[in-house]
């Protein structure tokens, strides 16, 4: 740095992209060094006979080899797992619903152009305070993964679908809120100003000018998050939030690997279903 100042002819231009690449390389080297040296993770140690034995046993178990009636051939297990699949689906819908309600209640003051008073054309002194407060809550709720939220919530609510849905909702509320606030910030101001010149109040501007413009995008984001939520429902189940995840954890702890396979089949089916439904719905809304 000092050298650059001493040599004014050599124009030093701070290039953020190159700087970032440098940081990325340093991070990558440091991370692998740390894992290798401090955590003593020996890569060669992965391929010991003992590991090979466990891996083989695990894979065999998953395919139900050596089991009399593997879970995926047993009608009773199917019935049980399908019921859990249904519950998981309900949990994901509930989570998406809670997150959306939370978002709809907070998103308007969380948009910068509302805080500036450009959108509703009314300036209030508390707008900026509200804006900052909600944005901080968004950051807070989305920075913490859903599983960590679930771990905390399970201290308050009894295990079941509700705490799982709540944990998923809190995390996704922050994400969806940020995305939708940005949608409002991109709203075209020209129709809004014209509505105001027709004498519309801020409430009327909201329902005639802002809502029709942002709702299609809101729906798209909600459906997209629902897809992500359904992948994650299984995870919050691990800490006792019901659904497929809880059963997965039990099956793993009791080494019932063929049941693990069955659960994964149903889980993959659910994920695929969510993909199809959400894509169809998005086409409908566009």
């Amino acid at each position: 740095m000092k050298k650059k100042i001493l040599l004014p002819k050599l124009k030093y231009k701070f290039n953020f992209v190159n700087f970032s690449i440098l940081i990325a390389i340093v991070l990558i080297i440091a991370s692998w060094m740390f894992i290798y040296k401090v955590d003593k993770a020996d890569f060669g140690g992965l391929f010991t006979e003992k590991n090979a034995f466990y891996a083989k046993k695990f894979l065999k178990g998953m395919f139900g080899i050596g089991e009399e009636t593997p879970a995926f051939k047993d009608a009773e297990s199917w019935k049980n797992v399908l019921k859990l699949t249904y519950e998981t689906l309900q949990m994901s819908v509930m989570a998406a619903g809670f997150a959306s309600i939370g978002m709809l209640l907070t998103v308007i003051p969380a948009a910068r152009n509302v805080a500036e008073g450009k959108l509703t054309l009314s300036k209030k002194w508390y707008n900026w305070i509200l804006f900052g407060f909600i944005r901080v809550i968004y950051i807070f709720s989305r920075s913490v993964p859903e599983l960590v939220w679930a771990m905390i919530i399970i201290f308050i609510f009894k295990p079941g679908i509700f705490p799982g849905a709540l944990a998923l909702a809190i995390h996704n509320f922050g994400i969806i809120g940020k995305l939708c606030a940005e949608v409002i910030e991109d709203t075209d101001l020209r129709p809004i100003r014209n509505l105001a010149s027709c004498g519309a109040s801020s409430g009327q501007i909201l329902i005639y000018g802002v809502m029709p413009a942002v709702m299609p995008k809101f729906l798209t984001y909600i459906l997209y998050r629902w897809e992500v939520i359904i992948r994650t429902t299984i995870v919050v189940g691990f800490v006792g939030a019901g659904g497929l995840g809880m059963d997965f954890k039990l099956a793993m702890s009791y080494f019932k690997y063929s049941e693990v396979t069955l659960i994964l089949i149903c889980y993959l089916f659910l994920v695929a279903l969510a993909d199809i439904v959400s894509e169809g719905a998005r086409k409908l809304s566009s």
């Binding site: 020209r190 100003r193 014209n194 010149s197 004498g199 109040s201 409430g203 009327q204 329902i207 029709p212």
Partner: protein, 251 residues
Amino acid sequence: MQQLNNIFELNNISKVYERKIAISSLSLTIKKGELVALIGPSGAGKTTLLNILANVLKSESGQLLISGVLSDKYNSGKKLAKKIGIIRQQFDLVGQLPVVHNVLAGRLVEWGFLKSLLSLIFPQEKELAKKALDRVGLLDKIYEKTSNLSGGEQQRVAMARLLVQKPEVILADEPVSALDPARAEDILSMLTKLVREENETLITVLHSVEYAKKYFDRIIAMREGKVYFDLPAEKVTDKLLSDLYDLKELN
């Protein structure tokens, strides 16, 4: 008595944008029922003047009387909306809503919040919207999504909204600049016809001198923030016009 006949009275209005003078001590009177075209080279302050008349912009000095009342007195949007209606380029409508709601938006000034909300599901005072759309020839498009309409059709929807809003004055900011010539004439003749029928006042910023002479009673030419000439349409000569658009920088 005479004041009641004047819809706008401007006394020494000035407006400065970041040290650049947009309008310098301008005085004007516009009577009820007049059809006025504002012309002049770009940067002459036409749109600024229109925004001051619309009470969207505040002037730095001078005073503006709207129907004999100081413009500052019109502090509520509702009061102003009954006086003044605005039409700009076609981007003024909410494209995602069906046409009928965009027309009925002209009634928002009279409606409370709940009625406006209800109207989005069951259109209220639909007859009013139908009549207005019929007059602009778009009755068959009443439930069409507004963004599916062509530019000219959207301007006609905007006019239907003004018919529902029923203001005393209509301020138009280059309402036909985004349209092809045939469509532009179509819109202008319809707009001036409707304004005459409703006995309203119309003030339009226009690029085209030809249209101004054809459709308007009075032409106000602006240059560098001042009135260059202010004459009845038939008295505007080609000499005056070529002087108006003459580039001073060339000298």
